[in-house]
Symmetry: C2
Subunit: 202 residues, 2 copies
């Protein structure tokens, strides 16, 4: 990579980082381009030199962030498979990977959840694509688990995948927002227990 494009890349990254926290805190519309530029330490003109519009900056942010998440989920699943682990172990590893991701990028997660179920917004189609990528990783592991008999063939794959993702997402955001004192291991243990059905019974 030549120096110029890496210089540009550095500017873009600074803008992503500034935008993601501001938008997570305040929402898209309430965040001004002037604020983003100031937080990133660049001039306003630079924002428009690097991105077509505020909306485009946001859409690229979404793509970038979900790309990181799916890569991390897939890596967790693949690694478990490579070690000869079961599919349930793979799901457990993915829960862990999800928690680590949210711990590292809480602002992005917050913003993603806030936008995901909205309708009639400019970036709706971007989100749809990007969501499907993430959920598909979980669905694949569920499907494999059913195929090899490890999971009940009566489970509803798309709904169960959505529920699992939701469970992790909401538990993690709650942890970050309202229960900061808990460790990631506490949260992982609670979710793992639900996944393994070790909630009811003694």
């Amino acid at each position: 990579m030549d120096t110029q494009s890496s210089r540009r890349q550095a500017t873009r990254t600074k803008l992503y980082e500034a935008a993601v926290t501001l938008i997570a805190e305040q929402g898209f519309s309430a965040t001004t381009v002037d604020e983003i530029a100031e937080r990133a330490g660049v001039a306003k003109g630079t924002v428009y030199y690097n991105f077509k519009s505020k909306t485009e900056l946001f859409e690229e942010l979404l793509r970038h962030g979900v790309g990181l998440l799916t890569a991390s989920l897939r890596a967790a699943a693949d690694e478990t498979a490579a070690r000869g682990g079961t599919r349930v172990q793979a799901l457990d590893a993915m829960i862990r990977a999800g928690l680590v991701f949210i711990d590292r990028y809480p602002a992005f997660t917050q913003l993603y959840v806030a936008e995901l179920w909205r309708t009639n917004r400019a970036w709706q189609s971007t989100l749809l694509v990007v969501r499907q990528e993430a959920v598909a990783v979980v669905e694949t592991v569920l499907r494999e688990g059913v195929a090899n008999g490890e999971l009940s063939d009566e489970i509803d794959i798309p709904l169960t995948a959505a529920a699992l993702v939701g469970m992790v997402l909401v538990a993690a955001l709650d942890w970050q927002a309202f229960q900061r004192e808990r460790s990631i291991d506490d949260v992982h243990a609670a979710l793992s227990r639900l996944l393994h059905g070790r909630v009811s019974g003694r």
Copy 2:
């Protein structure tokens, strides 16, 4: 109730209904007071006659909506207890009640999830109170279940409650947004299966 105050109440209700769908679709900042007034079929001045500000309208909306939700969850739990059901059955009934609520007020749920984990917003303290009310209902049932030996005493009550609420919330929103063809029974069955630990195994 005299004609005047019932007239006022009707206007307020129209404003709630208009605001909830618009804000769910577009977010708080992107929704203008003019839009809300137009959708409600009243003049802009009427909004300010009935509410101190746009923010206050929104806060009252939040209180109103979460009030409905907690009432419905509590009713489900109480009814199960009255019929001599177990705590796990009560949790199951609450999942059902949550789904029914979301099915009936999808816009409100959307808006609640979008705002819940934001920080630095004017209505943050309102949300904190209102969230705690809702989660507390689930925590109570979990605590009772642990006390009578129905649930493992190793579960982490606050985290498990958050995870359960998240599971229902996200699965239901996903159902509404991306899997409309499924029936409420399908969704309930999938979530119930997770709650009962009937996912893994044959």
